[in-house]
Symmetry: C2
Subunit: 319 residues, 2 copies
């Protein structure tokens, strides 16, 4: 493939595949559009957890242990805030704080989230294009047995404990794709859309739930491939499998395939799940079996190469 | 003395005498009213340098080396901000940041600066009353050969290098004393006002420049004593002596005495400056010679005791 690739990503899993794609594709050939449904204002600062995870990961600065924040982080701010009786349920490291303070400054002077993200990415030495899915606020609300919870309340404060019955994306009707995402969708050179191994309900759904993106996928003329975030019946990271179970879906790659259904042309599943390939093919989509757990940069690169090759084949078949 | 003492304070020198007064006086007997003319918003946060220095000092957490900020501070935030190309001319440590973030949160929900200061003081374990001079914004502007500079621009960014020709306190006409300062001024039990060894132009002038405070001093019925911030012709800390020279004043304790003039009843000068005592007495005020350089807590306590004894004598004389 020589054209452009659009990757749709949430946090850790998305960031790791994006890292692989960035290691394979020249900067002008990749757009990573990132979920902003998890964004929220905390301590007066605009926090964009998925954008930050993707940025830090592409910059080689991600904290691999936590899956969020910066490597070599320090916690003096948080400790002092605790002493003052401040809110400490959402942990902001000293280094990470600089990102939010700078983002706030840029938004305050009227920059869009896209512009702020471009400036932060450049400052972190990232050459590939990371864009928010939208510059308009979309806020994921998790409907649970304890009522509707703002995403971070559910995810961090309540540690994903409440039983999930559904999701709502406040603001999504009014939110259009960011200029970078819109440009990628309109790009004549677009050759593939990759749905990264991110949580389909809370990371991918807000992106593909925007009308312009949904319309694009429905009328697509490029292959759309998803990488399953579920391996061996478990999510690599996060509550995806728990959510699937609570929503009555099969907690495996077949469940993911059913979820995406006609919106994708093919799915990459893990070697562990090879036995599910026939059933997934039975849904009318192509399947590629690969090693999908990305522990290292070379894992990320290998999965990116495999995914791009798979998409290229699907693109060639369609011609 | 059994009554109430009102101390007027700026940063380091004021904080150190306030620490001494707090070690001598029970909490209900002391109000420390602190200059807010240096306050400014930085990186979206409300920074109150003198209030913080007084709070940190009374809490035993002041960074004695720098004269600002918290002991054992770390700088991860600032380093990360520098990498992002953010504004680093005013240094905010990781721990110190928590104070500003909490203050911002409290102001955002409609608390006054007095209320925020009381809450922060309590959280830091301070039992004595530290109050801002006013809850209304007063902003010190330094008139220089490079034009009018906001105080922190002059003080930190330009390192006090421009030549000073005067000062302006924007907002002072509309600013009334904070409730705590007003209560101290109206307190029937008030027995003395202590002007701490702070910069007379930029730390004390904003406080005593408020109409209600000026009127109180003009009509006072309690002794007002000032501790000279100039020792041996030099300021212990900060640009006071440089400012005096540029404004054409004698850069010594006599210059300070002339500056305060009829607004004070007595001045505490350092042993080094004992020779100036007759000239200062010639201005019509009492003089006490003492060891005024406060390196340790016991220095602070000794100077506080000396200053209070001096004020008590002046009060007794006046009866």
């Amino acid at each position: 493939m020589e054209g452009h690739v659009l990757a749709l990503a949430g946090g850790v899993g998305g960031a790791r595949l994006a890292r692989g794609l960035a290691s394979v594709l020249d900067p002008e050939r990749l757009t990573v559009a990132v979920n902003t449904g998890d964004d929220f204002e905390h301590l007066g600062l605009p926090v964009s957890p998925d954008l930050d995870t993707v940025m830090y990961t592409l910059a080689g600065r991600a904290n691999e242990e936590t899956g969020w924040g910066v490597a070599g982080e320090t916690w003096s701010f948080m400790e002092a805030l605790a002493e003052l009786g401040g809110e400490t349920w959402f942990r902001l490291g000293d280094k990470d704080l600089a990102t939010h303070v700078e983002r706030r400054r840029m938004l305050e002077v009227g920059q869009t989230l896209s512009q702020a993200t471009a400036a932060l990415s450049a400052a972190l030495g990232i050459r590939h294009r990371i864009v928010p899915m939208s510059d308009a606020p979309v806020r994921t609300v998790v409907e649970t047995d304890e009522g509707a919870l703002a995403f971070q309340d559910y995810f961090v404060r309540r540690r994903c404990e409440p039983l999930v019955s559904g999701f709502r994306f406040d603001g999504i009707e009014a939110a259009g794709p960011s200029p970078g995402l819109a440009a990628a969708l309109a790009d004549k050179a677009l050759q593939a859309v990759v749905i990264c191994p991110s949580n389909p309900y809370v990371s991918v759904a807000p992106i593909v739930g925007m009308a312009d993106v949904a319309d694009f996928l429905d009328a697509r003329n490029v292959p759309v491939v998803a990488v399953s975030p579920i391996v061996g019946g478990r999510a690599i990271k996060g509550p995806a499998a728990k959510m699937m179970a609570e929503l009555g879906a099969e907690t495996d790659a077949l469940g993911i395939a059913r979820h995406y259904g006609a919106r994708i042309d093919g799915m990459v599943i893990d070697e562990l799940d090879a036995a599910l390939a026939p059933a997934i093919r039975g849904l009318g989509m192509a399947v590629r079996v690969a090693q999908t757990v990305m522990r290292s940069e070379s894992d990320s690169r290998a999965l990116a190469e495999e995914t791009l090759a798979f998409a290229a084949e699907l693109g060639a078949d369609a011609r």
